[in-house]
C-alpha cells in the first residue's frame, strides 16, 4: 500500500491540533492510516510502532512536524497531503463555527438571567411538559402564551387561576394567535396598532378579524388569545373575562371585539355584567347565531369579517347608534362581483371545502347552514349526525378542517405544509360530483412563505381539466412576511376566484350552490 511522508519545518502546532489534523486525514476517502505529529523521540517510537517512520523523517528536528499518509492509491496520498498543507495554514474545515457556539440557555430560569426584563414566555413544547414549564414561567413573573395543546383542563384551570393571582396573562393552552404590545406572536399577522382590542378563544378567528380591521384602515391595541376551552364551564371564562375587563378599562382601546364559541351560560352572564360596567362598545361574535343581550353598547357580527367591519365603523362614526348597522347583511362588503360561469357538467353540484383554519371551517359550515338550511358533512360538523364516516372521503357537500388532529398526526399544520391539501384538491377534482372547491389561504407569521407557488400548479390543472369553480379566501395583510398582493394576483391568474375574507368566499360558494341547484 502506498505511503508518503512530508516534514514541515518552522511551524508550531500543539499536539491536540495535530491530533485533530490526523483524525481529519483518516476520515478522507481511501486513506487507511495517517498521522501528523511532532518529531520528538517518544513520537518517533510511536511512528515506528505503526510502521510510519519513513526515511524522510530521519533528519527531523524535535520541533518539526512529520506527516505520513497511507492510502489505497498514490493519487489519494498526494491529494490528502495537499489538503493537510492547507489545514496547517488555514485551520481545519468547519472549525470556524460562530453560529454553533451561540449560547442557548437550557431552562427558563437561565433565560431570565440572560434577559432580566423579559415579560412573556412563548411555550410550544410537547403538551405533557407544557403545563410545568408554563407554571415555571408564571413563577418567574412572565406572561405566558401557551401554544402547546394536550394540556389537561385541570392544569389549564390551575394555571389561569395562578396567573390571575399574579396579574399575569395565561393565553392558551392551544393558543395559536395573539398580538401583544403590537407584536404578532406565533400564527399572527402583521397588523398596525390602533384602537380596537380583541379577546378571542379562536386563533384563526382572531387572524381573520385582525386582518380585516387592518385592511379597512384601523388597527389593534391588544389581541388576546385565550385558548378554545376558556368559555367552557370547567374553566368558567377565567381569561376571557380578565382580558375583557382589561380591554374595557384600557385607555388605548376604544372598541372591543369578543370572539368565542358560545360560552357557558354563567360565563355569558358574567360577560354582560362586565360590559354593562362601561359604555365602551363591544362587538360580539359567538360564531353561531345567538340572541345577544340588548345592551346599548353590545353589537353583533354574523361573520368574522362583518364583526371587524362593525368594529371599524363604530370607530369611524362613534355617534352612529343606528341599530340597523348591527344587522347589516353580511355579504354587503362584496358588491362588485364578476360573473361566474357555472359548471357545465350536470353531475357537478357539490361544494368541497378544504380548510386549514378551524374557525374558518366552522364559519363556512355556519353560513352554509344559514343560507341553505341543511348541514354540510365534516370531520368537525355542526351537528354530530353530519360527521364524515371516513374523513378522507367527501360526501355530497363537505367542508373539512384539515388542521384537525386526524390530518396533522406526524406532519406539520396545513398552513405550513400544503402537501396534504394539494393531494386532497387533486382527489376532489377527480370526483365527478365536485362543483366548487373552497379554500382558505392563511398568510402571516408562522404560515407558509409562498403558498401561491404551492397551489398554482394544481389549481391551473383543475381549471384546465374540469369546469370546477375554485374559490380561495386569502387571509392576511400587506405587511405580512408573504407578498399578499402577489399571492392574490398569482391565484387569480390560475382562474380561481380570490376573496380577501372568509365570509365572502363562503357566501359566494353558497350562492353558487343555490344557482347550480336551481338551474
Amino acid at each position: 500500500m502506498p505511503i508518503i511522508g512530508t516534514l514541515v519545518h518552522g511551524k508550531y502546532l500543539d499536539s491536540v491540533k495535530l491530533m485533530l489534523v490526523s483524525k481529519e486525514m483518516r476520515q478522507q476517502d481511501g486513506v487507511t492510516d495517517a498521522v501528523a505529529i511532532m518529531a520528538t523521540p517518544e513520537n518517533r517510537d510511536i511512528l515506528k510502532a505503526t510502521n510510519m517512520l519513513l526515511p524522510e523523517f530521519a533528519k527531523a528536528l524535535d520541533t518539526d512536524i512529520c506527516i505520513a499518509i497511507k492510502a489505497e492509491t498514490e493519487a489519494t496520498c498526494s491529494e490528502v497531503m495537499d489538503l493537510v498543507k492547507v489545514w496547517l495554514d488555514k485551520g481545519l474545515p468547519g472549525s470556524d463555527s460562530q453560529d454553533k457556539a451561540d449560547f442557548m440557555p437550557r431552562s427558563l430560569d437561565s433565560a431570565v438571567k440572560l434577559m432580566p426584563d423579559a415579560n412573556l414566555a412563548l411555550v410550544s413544547v410537547a403538551g405533557k411538559y407544557a403545563g410545568t414549564e408554563a407554571k415555571k414561567a408564571l413563577d418567574l413573573g412572565l406572561n405566558v402564551m401557551l401554544f402547546s395543546d394536550n394540556v389537561s383542563i385541570q392544569t389549564e384551570k390551575d394555571l389561569k387561576e395562578y396567573a390571575i393571582s399574579k396579574d399575569l396573562l395565561l393565553m392558551g393552552p392551544d393558543c395559536g394567535t395573539a398580538i401583544i404590545n403590537g407584536v404578532p406572536l406565533a400564527f399572527a399577522n402583521a397588523v398596525r396598532r390602533g384602537k380596537i382590542g380583541i379577546v378571542s378563544a379562536s386563533g384563526t378567528g382572531l387572524q381573520e378579524v385582525s386582518c380585516v380591521i387592518n385592511n379597512l384602515g384601523e388597527g389593534i391595541s391588544q389581541a388576546f388569545g385565550t385558548g378554545g376551552r376558556d368559555g367552557k364551564k370547567e374553566i368558567g371564562g377565567l381569561m376571557l373575562l380578565k382580558c375583557l375587563e382589561y380591554l374595557l378599562f384600557d385607555l388605548s382601546t376604544e372598541v372591543i371585539v369578543l370572539i368565542s364559541k358560545v360560552p357557558d351560560e354563567e360565563v355569558i352572564a358574567k360577560i354582560w355584567a362586565l360590559i354593562k360596567m362601561t359604555e365602551k362598545p363591544v362587538v360580539v361574535n359567538f360564531l353561531r347565531p345567538f340572541e345577544l343581550q340588548q345592551l346599548s353598547n353590545v353589537y353583533s357580527g354574523n361573520t368574522l369579517a362583518e364583526t371587524a367591519q362593525i368594529a371599524c365603523r363604530i370607530l369611524t362614526d362613534k355617534n352612529d347608534k343606528n341599530l340597523a348597522l348591527k344587522r347589516r347583511e353580511s355579504d354587503s362588503i362584496f358588491q362588485n362581483r364578476t360573473l361566474v360561469e357555472l359548471p357545465t357538467k350536470e353531475s357537478r353540484k357539490y361544494v368541497r371545502g378544504l380548510f386549514s383554519g378551524g374557525t374558518l371551517c366552522y364559519e363556512a359550515q355556519n353560513l352554509y347552514h344559514q343560507k341553505l338550511g341543511n348541514f354540510a358533512y365534516s370531520n368537525a360538523p355542526l351537528e354530530s349526525e353530519y360527521k364524515l364516516e371516513d374523513v378522507w372521503k367527501s360526501k355530497e357537500d363537505t367542508i373539512i378542517d384539515m388542521g384537525a388532529d386526524e390530518f396533522t398526526v406526524g406532519r406539520p399544520h396545513p398552513m405550513i405544509d400544503y402537501s396534504l391539501r394539494l393531494k386532497k384538491i387533486e382527489e376532489e377534482s377527480k370526483d365527478d360530483e365536485t362543483a366548487i372547491i373552497l379554500l382558505d389561504v392563511v398568510l402571516g407569521f408562522g404560515a407558509h412563505l409562498s403558498p401561491h407557488l404551492e397551489l398554482a400548479p394544481i389549481l391551473k390543472k383543475v381549471k384546465a381539466d374540469t369546469c370546477i369553480i375554485v374559490i380561495c379566501a386569502v387571509i392576511g395583510t400587506d405587511a405580512d412576511p408573504q407578498n399578499r398582493q402577489e399571492v392574490i394576483r398569482y391565484l387569480s391568474n390560475t382562474g380561481s376566484i380570490v376573496t380577501t375574507t372568509n365570509a365572502e368566499a363562503c357566501m359566494l360558494a353558497v350562492r353558487l350552490l343555490q344557482s347550480i341547484r336551481s338551474s
Binding site: 491536540v16 490526523s22 498521522v35 510502532a49 413544547v125 401554544f147 399575569l168 404590545n181 407569521f445
Partner: protein, 466 residues
Amino acid sequence: MAFKDIETQPLKVINLGLNSFREDLQKQGVPVVQVDWAPPANVDSAVLENIYKHSEAIKQANQKVIDIIQKGSPVLLGLDIARNVVPGMEDNLILHAGPPITWDRMCGPMKGAVMGALIYEGKAKTEKEAEALAKSGKIKYAPCHEHNAVGPMAGVMSASMPVFIIKNEEFGNYAYCTQNEGLGKVLRYGAYSDEVIERLKWMEQIMYPVLDKAIRSLGKIDLKSLIAQALHMGDEVHNRNRAGTSLLFRQLAPAIMRTSDNAENSAKVLEFINGNDHFFLNLSMPAAKAVLDAARNIPNSSIAVVMARNGTDFGVQLAGTGDEWFTGPALVPDALYFPGYTKEDANPDIGDSAITETAGLGGFAIAAAPAIVQFVGGNAADSIKYTRWMYEITASESQNFQIPALDFRGTPLGIDVIKVIEKNLTPFIDTGVAHKNPGVGQVGAGVVSAPMEPFIKALDGLSKKL
C-alpha cells in the same frame, strides 16, 4: 385590572419550543431568547413529586452544603506512606478509583494496575503470580473514596505507596492521593512492566523523602489559592495542569534546595516535576476531595459530593444520602486519540478525577482553559458554552475560583441532582482515555458527559430519605 408589562413595556420574549417562532420575532426586531429545552430525564413522577414536596428543606440543606464547600481550605502538609496515614489502610488492601467493584468485573486497566501494585508491594513476582493472587480472594478491594482518598484513572493505591497529605483547615478533615507518575506507560493506566515498577520505587525511595522534607519546611502549601491562580493561567486543573504544576514548582524549588542533602536527587525530582504537566493533578484532586468530604452527611441535600468511575461503573454520592453509591455503566469518552489508536481501543471512563468537576473545576471550568478547547470542538466559544451550561445544573457559583473569560464569574459549583434530572443535562467531564487492555497506557484525551442512570437512582435514593 392590569397585566404586568402589557401596554407599558416593550415586549421581550423567551421562546421555549418551536425555533421558527424565535426567527419570526427576530425578523421583527423583537428581543427574544431561545431556550434549548429538553424534556426532563425519565424518572418516576411520584419521586419528583416527593422531591418537590420537600423543596424547602432541600433548599436549606443545599445552602448549608454550599457554605461548607465555599469555606473549604485545602492545604498540602507533606507526604507519608499510605499505611501510616490513610484510614483503614492495610497490607492486603488495594484501593481503587470509582465505586466498589469486584475483581471479575474490573476493566483491563484497573486489573493491570492492581497487578502492578501487587508486584510493587513484592507480593508477586510475575504477571501470572499477580493475577492469581489478585483473584485469590486474599486481596481486599475498596474505593479510595471510602478511605478519604482519591486516585486518577485506575486510582490504585497500596500500603507502601507514599501519599500527599491534604488538610481542609476550615473543617479539620484530611484527604490523600498518590504522587503523579507522568504520562506514557504508568500504573494508573494499567501498565505494570518493569519500567513502571522501577519508577514507582524511585518515587517512593527518592522523590517522596525529598518532597516531604521540602513541603514540611514550608509549613504548608495553600492549594486553594494555587488552584485559583492556575485557573487564571489557563488550567482547569483536570486535563490541563501546566500552570498548577509550574506554580507548585516555584514554591518547591527553593525549599528542595534548602532541605535536600543530595543535589543530584534534588535535580532529578525537579526535572521529574518539570517534565510532567500533570503532576499537580494529584493535588487538585485531593484538594477537591478534602473540600467535598466536609460536606458529606448533610440530610436532605441533593448536591453531589462524589462523582467517580472505575472503568466499568460510574458512581455518584450525594451529601444527603450518606455512604450510598448510585451507579450506572460508565461511557466511552468522546476523545482525540493518539496516532495508531481509535475509539475501539478505548476503555470506558475511569478515575476519581471527576472529583474536580464535583468541586466546580475540570470540565465545569473549561472556559478557563482555552488551550485545551480542541477537546470540546475546537474554538474558545465552545468551551465557554460548556461552562455556561454547567451553571444550569449547579446550586451556586464558586467564590474562590473564577473564569477570566466570563468576566471573572465564579465557576459553576455544587451539582444539584434535581437540576440534572429536570434539565436532562448531566455533568460534563474532562478526561484522559485509557486503553482497554492492561499494560498499554493512555491512548487519548477528551470529554465525556456523565451517564444519566446514576443521577436517576440518586434522586430516587434521596427521595426515600426525605
